[in-house]
C-alpha cells in the first residue's frame, strides 16, 4: 500500500535535485531557479504565525563546524527546525577531533549514529567533497577554506533578484578581500551562470593570482583596482570582510591606507545606480570595509540577506531530500 503513494501519484510536477550541495560551479540557471521557487514558498512559511512544517520530520541534521561560525550555524539550525528535522551541533573544540580523530572517522561515526544530512564547515578546501564520497548522508558545504560557500551565494543571488527583479545583465561589484573569500568565489560562479556581469575590486595583493588564465579554476571576470571606477553604474555593491585572521603574509601594508582607498562610504556608493544595493555577507568590520553610516542606510540589504538565508537553506534542505538513502 505504502508503495502505491509514490512519485507516480504526485499531482504536482516533480523536480530532480542533487543530493549534495558543495559549490555553485556546476549549477545551471534552471537549477538556481528551482532553488528560488522553493525559497519563495519557504518565505511564505516564515511569514506565518506557526513557522514550522513537517517536511523533514524524523530526519537528523548534523551541523559539523571545524571553524567558528554563529550566523551560518544558527541559520542552518533554524532552517532545519522549521522543517521539523532534529538538529545536533558539533563544534570541534570539545569533540573527539581534539583527541585526534580523523575527519573520515568522525563522519563515519556520525553516519552510524543516523545523520541524514551533514552541514559542514572546514578550514581546508575540498574537505566536504571527500566526505560526500564516503557517506550516504546528504552533504552541504557551509564553507571550506577559501573555496566555496554555496548557500551564502544563493541567498545573495536570491536577495538581488528579489529586490531588482532580475539577475541577467546586472553589474555586481565585489569589493575587498577576494583572495581569502569563499563567498566571492561561489558568487562568481553563481552570478556568471545566470548572466550577471561581475567586477572584482581590491588591492592587487587581494586578487587571486592567475585569475583569468585558462587553467585557473574560476570563470574570467573583470578586475578594476580603482574603487571609484569599479563602482560606477553598479546595480549591486558587495563588500567583503577583511579577514585579518587569515592575513599572515602582510598582504596589506597598512589598514588605514586600505580604508582610504577601498572603504565604501556614502560618496562612493552614490557613484552606483540610484537604487543600487549594498550587500555584505557579515560579520561587518564597521569602519574598515564599510563606513558606519552606510551599514544601515536605505540601500543596505544586509539584514535581508540574513533573513533570506533561513529561507534559502530551508529550500536546499527540502530539495536535497533529507538523505538517508531514500525509499
Amino acid at each position: 500500500m505504502a508503495n502505491r503513494i509514490s512519485v507516480a501519484d504526485l499531482t504536482a510536477p516533480t523536480e530532480t535535485f542533487r543530493p549534495h550541495v558543495l559549490d555553485l560551479d556546476d549549477f545551471s540557471p534552471r537549477e538556481v531557479e528551482v532553488v528560488f521557487e522553493a525559497t519563495d514558498v519557504m518565505k511564505e512559511v516564515l511569514g506565518r504565525e506557526i513557522k514550522k512544517v513537517p517536511a523533514l520530520r524524523g530526519k537528523t541534521l548534523v551541523n559539523l563546524f571545524y571553524e567558528a561560525s554563529t550566523r551560518t550555524r544558527v541559520s542552518f539550525e533554524l532552517a532545519a527546525k522549521n522543517l521539523s528535522a532534529d538538529v545536533v551541533n558539533i563544534a570541534v573544540s570539545g569533540s573527539s577531533v581534539a583527541k585526534g580523530e580523523s575527519l573520515l572517522d568522525t563522519i563515519r561515526t556520525l553516519q552510524a549514529l543516523g545523520a541524514d544530512m551533514i552541514v559542514m564547515r572546514h578550514s581546508q578546501a575540498g574537505a566536504p567533497y571527500l566526505v560526500a564520497r564516503h557517506v550516504k548522508s546528504c552533504v552541504l558545504n557551509a564553507g571550506d577554506g577559501w573555496h566555496a560557500h554555496p548557500s551564502q551565494a544563493l541567498l545573495d543571488l536570491y536577495t538581488m533578484r528579489e529586490r531588482l527583479g532580475r539577475l541577467e545583465g546586472l553589474k555586481v561589484v565585489i569589493v575587498g578581500d577576494i583572495l581569502h573569500s569563499r563567498v566571492a568565489r561561489s558568487n562568481i560562479w553563481g552570478l556568471t551562470a545566470v548572466g550577471a556581469r561581475v567586477v572584482l575590486c581590491a588591492p592587487p595583493t587581494l586578487i587571486p593570482f592567475g585569475l583569468g588564465r585558462a587553467e585557473y579554476p574560476l570563470p574570467e571576470v573583470e578586475v578594476e583596482y580603482n574603487l571609484d571606477r569599479a563602482i560606477e553604474g553598479a546595480d549591486v555593491v558587495m563588500a567583503l570582510r577583511i579577514q585579518k585572521e587569515r592575513h599572515k603574509e602582510g598582504l596589506l601594508p597598512d589598514l588605514r591606507e586600505y580604508v582610504r582607498l577601498y572603504q565604501i562610504d556614502r560618496t562612493r556608493l552614490a557613484r552606483a545606480k540610484p537604487h543600487a544595493l549594498l550587500m555584505h555577507p557579515g560579520p561587518v568590520n564597521e569602519g574598515i570595509e564599510l563606513a558606519a553610516d552606510v551599514v544601515t542606510c536605505a540601500q543596505s540589504v544586509i539584514q535581508e540577506q540574513v533573513a533570506n538565508g533561513v529561507a534559502v537553506r530551508m529550500a536546499l534542505l527540502y530539495l536535497m531530500g533529507g538523505g538517508g538513502g531514500g525509499a
Binding site: 503513494i5 509514490s6 523536480e15 514558498v41
Partner: protein
C-alpha cells in the same frame, strides 16, 4: 491505455451548481464561508464554486489556495521532489467554515495533509470537503461532504479531472485496463 469520458463541460458545470446549493443549504448561507482550493486543480474549482455561491447569495466569498507538499507523508525518495507551489490564504480562517476543494478524492492522504496544513494556519469553526470525483479506495477515515460524481474504480485505473485553466479543457476521464469502449 484506453480512456473513457465520464463527464463533459456541461456535466461538470451542472454538478458544481448542485453542490453550491448543497453548501448554502448546509451552512445556512455563505456569510461564514472560506473556499480553499488544493493545488493544483482544486484552485480553479474553488474559484468557480465561490463565484457560483456569490451569484446565488449576493455576498462575496473569500477564496484561498493551499499547497500541501510540505505536509505529505511520502517525502522519502531521494533526488526527486514534488515541486512546491505557493500557499495563499488571504483571510484569517479563525472561526470560518472552510470548504476544502479538490479534484479527485482517492486514498485520503492528501486531504489528511491539507487538514494538518490548515490547522497550522488557524482554528476554523469547521472544515468540509468538496470534490469533483470520489473514486473510493480510502486508506484513512476521511469522507467527502459534497461530491459531484461518485466513480467506482479499480486501483489499476486512473481518474483524471481536466480543468480549462490548467489543461485547456473541462473533462473527467477514466483510463486503464478495466475500461471498455
Amino acid at each position: 491505455m484506453r480512456e473513457k469520458e465520464l463527464m463533459n463541460e456541461a456535466d461538470m458545470r451542472r454538478g458544481l451548481t448542485r453542490i453550491a446549493h448543497e453548501i448554502i443549504e448546509r451552512n445556512q448561507g455563505v456569510q461564514e464561508l472560506a473556499i480553499i482550493g488544493m493545488r493544483t486543480r482544486g484552485v480553479p474549482l474553488a474559484h468557480r464554486l465561490a463565484s457560483l455561491l456569490e451569484s446565488l447569495e449576493g455576498h462575496p466569498v473569500p477564496v484561498g489556495s493551499l499547497d500541501v507538499t510540505l505536509y505529505r507523508d511520502d517525502l522519502k525518495l531521494r533526488g526527486v521532489r514534488p515541486r512546491l507551489q505557493r500557499t495563499h490564504i488571504p483571510i484569517d480562517i479563525q472561526g470560518k467554515r472552510v470548504i476544502l476543494v479538490d479534484d479527485v478524492l482517492y486514498t485520503g492522504r492528501t486531504t489528511r495533509a491539507a487538514l494538518d496544513a490548515l490547522i497550522d494556519l488557524g482554528r476554523p469553526k469547521c472544515v468540509q470537503l468538496a470534490v469533483m470525483v470520489d473514486r473510493g479506495h480510502r486508506e484513512l477515515p476521511i469522507r467527502p461532504d459534497y461530491v459531484v460524481k461518485n466513480v467506482p474504480t479499480s486501483v489499476h485505473e486512473e481518474v483524471k479531472v481536466r480543468i480549462q485553466e490548467v489543461d485547456g479543457v473541462d473533462q473527467v476521464i477514466i483510463m486503464g485496463r478495466g475500461v471498455d469502449g
